[in-house]
Subunit: 324 residues, 2 copies
């Protein structure tokens, strides 16, 4: 009801919507409307109320609540079921436990702040309050386990497209899971699984994206390697709008992927890849290999040609760009 009311006001942003119109559309009393208007105001929405004219939405706060995100998810089903928290340890943890309890595909968990956000391989991910998108999405693809890494690449393409759509900024993909703007990390993707050896129960996709951090939010050391959409775009963005665009792009690519397979995703990925054709070093627990990034396989494996012309299959590694 509060969500539907917000939709009516947002669709007519800057214009008055009469109490009677709302009452008829949403089939509720004037008193109920007033109660929800008060709640929205408390959440930070600035809503003008003028007798005989009705209500007018003047400005919206930068929130990632269910109501706010639902304004931007279009006709998709991803993001229709939102678990929103102001502060959590990790949205991944919550999503894992929702998935175990049977949460439907497309359910998401969003938080304003993560106190123990995780990146790939258990690394910490800084998720300060109100500055970025800290989101986990539950998928239930009927694909073999061997193909699960393809989803990381799919999500990276979708997130990069969403950024471009909303901000005009170009975000390149660094294998396997980082988005870079001008060489600096703006987003990371964490793909986790609950699976049997031959059947995936659920994929929990974590997306961390720096949106409205200013340069002063980063230490000097961090600002050498990380950035935000606001720093690169020179303005702030509505996080809900970007989150909604990310969900729409993911859903579109995902539906196509389930029907047509990885070929299209692979082309899109390669077009946005940062490291392809470049000289890179792949560093892992077992050692490091330097060579030219030749491409990715259908399993999402990175192919690296060393100086002896030998091709290495890289399943998991950190990519570095030798400075020479």
């Amino acid at each position: 009801m509060k969500e539907a009311l917000l939709h009516m006001l947002a669709e007519n942003e800057g214009e008055f919507v009469s109490g009677q119109q709302i009452s008829e559309n949403l089939n509720c009393s004037r008193t109920a409307i007033w109660k929800h208007i008060s709640e929205l105001r408390k959440s930070g929405y600035s809503i003008e109320a003028v007798q005989k004219r009705g209500y007018r939405l003047l400005t919206s706060p930068d929130l990632v609540t269910a109501e706010e995100v639902s304004l931007y998810t279009g006709n998709g089903t991803f993001g229709k079921k939102v678990t929103y928290k102001t502060s959590v340890k990790s949205t991944q943890e919550i999503a894992h436990s929702l998935a175990r309890e049977g949460a439907l595909e497309g359910s998401i968990v969003l938080a304003d702040e993560q106190t123990g956000g995780r990146g790939r391989l258990g690394r910490a991910w800084q998720s300060p309050s109100g500055t970025g998108i800290w989101m986990s999405l539950i998928l239930r693809p009927e694909i073999p386990l061997q193909k699960a890494p393809q989803l990381t690449l799919l999500i990276a393409v979708a997130a990069s497209r969403a950024i471009e759509k909303v901000t005009g900024l170009e975000a390149a993909i660094k294998w396997p899971n980082d988005l870079l703007i001008k060489g600096k990390k703006v987003a990371g993707i964490l793909t986790e699984l609950q699976a049997e050896a031959d059947s995936i129960h659920s994929v929990i996709v974590g997306i961390g994206m720096n949106v409205n951090q200013e340069k002063k939010h980063f230490t000097e050391e961090i600002s050498e390697i990380a950035t935000s959409l606001a720093i690169e775009g020179g303005k702030t963005y509505k996080r809900a709008e970007i989150a909604g665009a990310v969900l729409q792009e993911i859903e579109n690519l995902y539906r196509s992927y389930l029907v047509k397979g990885f070929a299209v995703i692979k082309l899109l990925w390669e077009a946005r890849a940062y490291s392809l054709g470049k000289r890179i070093t792949a560093r892992s627990v077992t050692g490091s290999i330097t060579g030219y990034a030749k491409g990715i396989t259908d399993e999402g494996v990175l192919l690296l040609e060393d100086d002896n012309g030998e091709i290495h299959s890289i399943y998991s590694a950190d990519i570095e760009f030798p400075s020479h």
Copy 2:
């Protein structure tokens, strides 16, 4: 302490061990020994106590407790940390949550009875009290996700070898995860994962094995397709001995696999495979294919040649043997 006492008695089964010897070896008082002897008797161990001669273990109950299993795990580390319960919903559930809390590789969960035992693809698995081995094992292999299905095959080989070692019975492997004696199912393996797209956090291996069920325990319908070691061997077995042998075989193959890869396991698997070279039907949600089982790939994928000579890669399916 109780475990060490049982070890001393079991190593000298049928012979007396003096109170003084026990007291010195285990560095404990005569009163403490007596307390533990009483507890063991309560658990079903028949222990004779004769003044001036000491204690003598006459018979042991068929238990799968930590103490009992530890008698049969040899020098291995698998099965050294045992969580034993008389009755649980599912040992897999407990093992999953232990794994999330950081349980070490080789930790196991054993139960006398499962009230909600699960097989592959969420199917029910009958686990009546005191008749079989209902066990979950936590592994933490540093292998790519794509190779995880190999572990199901490794476990099947290990379980088949353990059965042969203890009972002399030959158990064939039906791809991907069943053990058959004379065409009837005697054990099933469930391999579940907690993983990232490029890194496995833990593998939870569930093993369900029918040990001491008699024919009358099965309905007529079930006894057409299922059997137990006791039915096939014509005698009952100590479940702990078989569980210990399974753990030892798994650990040996697993250590070799991590160093040398899948090639050896593949040969062992093929030698014990039930369906290779046979005409089979692979039935899955997307349809069914009939043809000749040609072999498995290094990713544990089953290769099936249909009547047009086309080779199909089977990632997940139920295998049936057409009756003609």
